[in-house]
């Protein structure tokens, strides 16, 4: 279990597409280090032979009929888009330069 430094915070922030100022990066390194240290107590727990749980009520493979139903109105959905044109969402160019 590694300690978290600013380089590590920058690596994670890049993975999460999250901009951080230099001050935030330094602050997060300290706080994340403490939080990770706290959760690392689980390393000492004996979990030999214990299966992981990701669904608590025991539901598996909930199916529905594959039928066409009315979907939401395009204009209503686009109304929240920061920029739109001709019924499409406008984004900045994908590659810089």
């Amino acid at each position: 279990m590694s300690k978290i430094g600013t380089t590590e915070v920058e690596r994670i922030a890049k993975l999460a597409r999250l901009g951080l100022s230099a001050d935030e990066t330094a602050q997060m390194a300290v706080e994340l280090g403490r939080i990770v240290e706290f959760v690392t107590q689980l390393a000492a727990v004996d979990i030999e032979g214990v299966e992981p749980t990701d669904q608590v009520t025991g539901l598996v493979d909930v199916w529905r009929e594959d039928v066409v139903k009315p979907s939401m109105d395009r204009t209503t959905l686009l109304a929240n888009a920061p920029a739109q044109k001709d019924g499409f969402i406008v984004v900045k160019r994908v590659q810089n330069g």
Binding site: L18, M28, R34, I35, L42, D54, N80, V91, R93, V94
Partner: protein, 480 residues
């Protein structure tokens, strides 16, 4: 002006019989909200509330049948999508957002005749235990405005305690209904995972998120639960409601087996709250209940597991806020990657950023097994221990919180200290079982709560027990 801190059944009967009108109740709610704005429980009023009240009064006058909540004003946490207002999750990144569809839970409440009067403040994206993480400023505790109302449903709990509506609805991923209910002296119900459809509520951690009511009494929580519960095709995690419904369940304390969770009485618990809990235990025994201590050792690990699993799911659920489809979009971005990074940097508050980073870290290559997978296995241990305890006991009991409401600002520079506030509530979310917090008494004049925990899908017995335990407690304000 009508005091809205009265039982739902009583108010609804008066509206149905014409003794009171829905307009009377909604006007009372709006007036009370206006009178108590300084608590900052509310983010936005529903401009259509009065018109809806008039429509309901019209139906009643015409002799049409109306639902069990006809004319009852309620407040929704601002992570429920609602047509008439913005839905911000108290975050800057969603500040401009107007929902294109409405949450199933709100649809059900409105179909039952309830009237949404306002949206309540919360910790942004429901991340927090004090409502201080709201990007729009904290809510103040109704009992002592220098203190926090708890969180994340702090605005909802405060609004009920202030009488701004008859009930409120919140969400609970790690204690976010029960803890603020305890801090504000109201009732907070966290149902079994999947009992209330979450479609149209801003997702936090999908394997743990549930919705539920915050009310003045346990009977009110049962009525609201009965309206909200049951499967919906739009949420594949939903489960069937109890075939008998929830309304007519009655319980007796005679022979009922309570397990007093030993670990929740430990060193972290405020000594005065412990005294209140033990006094209640004696009262329950004297009325024929059996109460024994039970050890659930894994609850001591629940918080660490929670702060791996939940940030992991948070980082995934918050990935959708990209500055492209809706919400805040940076005007400084020069390309698409900058749209993502800058919109998220500008739009997310410190706690959302912290959780995105922790979650991304524990899910990243090389750490996944050591953190996420291991926490999921600890979760299994916890479930097995709860199952074991429920072979011996009908209801588990403990304090809702380690202490009473703390002063505003006293922990806001210490994220870990705020996380520790959830130490007695998170196990319920990780195991999916239902739990309710009831006001138990006061410590230095501040409300504290007792938590009752039942097996999955045992809401009928939980609610019946809650009503009887509430009667045993009597007026909590006089229990110092």
């Amino acid at each position: 002006m009508v005091d809205l801190r009265r039982p739902i059944a009583e108010l609804a009967a008066q509206v149905a019989s014409g003794k009171l009108t829905a307009v009377d109740l909604v006007q009372s709610a709006l007036a009370r909200i206006e009178e108590t704005t300084s608590y900052h429980a509310i983010l936005e009023l529903n401009p259509e509330a009065l018109a809806r009240a008039e429509a309901i009064d019209g139906l009643i006058k015409a002799g049409e049948s109306v639902g069990p909540l006809a004319g009852i004003p309620f407040i929704a946490k601002d992570n429920y999508l609602t047509f008439a207002t913005h839905t911000t999750a108290a975050s800057n990144i969603l500040a401009p957002f107007k929902a294109p569809y409405q949450s199933v839970a709100i649809d059900r409440l409105e179909a039952a005749g309830a009237i949404l009067v306002a949206k309540a403040n919360l910790d942004a994206f429901a991340h927090g235990t004090s409502t201080e993480n709201s990007d729009f400023g904290p809510t103040k505790n109704p009992v002592d405005p220098t203190r926090v109302p708890g969180g994340s449903s702090g605005g909802s709990a405060a609004s009920v305690a202030l009488g701004q509506a008859v009930f409120a609805v919140g969400s609970d991923t790690g204690g976010s209904i029960r803890q603020p209910a305890a801090f504000c002296g109201v009732v907070g119900l966290k149902p079994t995972y999947g009992l209330i459809p979450r479609t149209g509520v801003v997702a936090m951690a999908s394997s743990a998120d549930v919705l539920g009511p915050i009310t003045n009494c346990a009977a009110d929580a049962t009525i609201v639960l009965d309206v909200m519960a049951g499967p919906d095709a739009s949420d594949a995690t939903t489960i069937e409601r109890d075939k008998q419904g929830y309304l007519d369940a009655t319980g007796s304390l005679t022979g009922l087996k309570f397990g007093l969770i030993k670990e929740y009485l430990g060193a972290g618990l405020n000594i005065e709250i412990k005294r209140h809990i033990l006094e209640l235990v004696e009262q329950l025994k004297s009325r024929g209940a059996e109460v024994h201590e039970v050890s659930v050792p894994a609850v001591e690990l629940a918080l660490a597991a929670y702060y791996i699993l939940v940030p992991a799911e948070v980082s995934s659920n918050l990935a959708r806020y990209d500055g492209v489809k809706y919400g805040h979009s940076s005007t400084k971005a020069r390309d698409l990657d900058e749209t993502y990074r800058l919109s998220r940097e500008e739009g997310f508050g410190a706690e959302a950023k912290r959780r995105i980073l922790i979650g991304t870290y524990v899910l990243s290559s090389g750490y996944y097994d050591a953190y996420y997978k291991r926490a999921q296995r600890v979760r299994t241990k916890l479930i097995e221990e709860f199952n074991q305890a429920f072979t011996q006991f009908d209801i588990l009991i403990g304090s809702t919180t380690p202490g009473p409401a703390f002063p505003l600002g006293s922990k806001s520079n210490d994220p870990l200290a705020l996380y520790l506030e959830d130490v007695m509530t998170v196990a319920v979310n990780l195991t999916g079982v239902p739990a309710i917090s009831l006001p138990l008494g006061t410590v230095d004049g501040l409300p504290v709560g007792v938590q009752l925990i039942a097996p999955q899908r045992a809401e009928r017995s939980l609610m019946a027990t809650a009503v009887t335990v509430e009667a045993v407690i009597g007026d909590w304000r006089t229990r110092a």
